[in-house]
């Protein structure tokens, strides 16, 4: 089966592909293809956003799809900006988010990744998620994904460095996206085993 991984970031696709084909479960019967499509995103709760995005991708590609979405929030703002983090990052940059957070005593934050999977002959999608918690600090380190990200302002719990100061290998151990990908992989492996 061919699964279309929908993302506008090719690097993200390559990373995901590596993880999904990594030993011990190499998913030999699945082929992952990069689909570069810009999808509408809803306002709302992360689960609703990923479900809508996955179903839209399925309509667009007319084939099985995988879609991901990130949420990043400050505890001081009760989890906001949450799913709107991308707009915040591209408008006020990590520096602006740090400034915002620095005004509060509580600088705890969390990042979540949601992955949606829509298979043929099913009328709804599966959602997987990964989560980390940490503390917001002044931007340090350089972005892994080559784009503006929250990576350089979060010190994940258990670390003294920002995610951007870790090597890609280190960060991949705790990255919310990789946690969600592991769940997806387990699901796909079970699916393969049953066929």
């Amino acid at each position: 089966m061919r699964l279309h991984y929908v993302t506008s970031n090719e690097k993200k696709f390559r990373e995901a592909e590596l993880i999904l084909h990594r030993e011990p479960h190499t998913l030999p019967h699945l082929e992952f293809i990069h689909a570069h499509i810009d999808l509408d995103e809803l306002q709302g709760m992360p689960e609703d956003i990923i479900t809508h995005k996955t179903n839209r991708a399925f309509e667009e590609v007319q084939a099985p799809v995988i879609v991901d979405d990130i949420s990043f929030g400050l505890n001081a703002l009760k989890g906001l900006p949450g799913p709107y983090i991308k707009t915040f990052l591209y408008t006020i940059y990590p520096e602006g988010l740090w400034e915002l957070a620095s005004h509060y005593e509580d600088r705890r934050c969390s990042a979540s990744c949601y992955i949606g999977l829509r298979l043929p002959h099913e009328d709804q999608c599966h959602v997987f998620s990964g989560h980390i918690e940490g503390t917001v600090v002044e931007p340090r380190g350089s972005q892994h994904c080559g784009r503006i990200s929250w990576n350089n302002i979060i010190v994940p719990d258990g670390s003294t460095r920002t995610a951007a100061e870790m090597t890609l290998d280190e960060f991949s151990q705790i990255s919310p996206r990789n946690k969600a990908l592991s769940q997806l992989k387990e699901f796909l492996h079970n699916m393969e085993s049953q066929n």
Copy 2:
């Protein structure tokens, strides 16, 4: 012609209806009907959000529709939360927004209302907008629309009171929604005159 005003707030519909039928242009050939529908809202720029929302409403109602949407932003955050203001208000409340703004020296803010109109036999919608600027202050006064709103934390330029401390009549002179409604009304009046 019957125009469906799509909003989940009946009070907002009644206000709009009053304005649209007010002298001197009472729009005698137009009937406004309240359509209570919850519509998906996109993430993005306000113009894209209102366009998508209006087209969705048109598909849903299968008749001419009017839809509105509010944006409220802090200059210190380069206009954010903007179209996501509703999520912010319902998550951290006006008190939380005030606290957020109070940390910045620049407490300037602006509020905009976008109104979309989709007519039969046209394949795209018309967008009207109204705008005010002001300063964020500690919440004062009681909400006009009976819902959580930014009205009690904005002192509009030229006033010493918050929008929520003004009478409904006073506020209606400067309200971004009423400014957008005036543009809509002018458009509808011209349309009636031409028929």
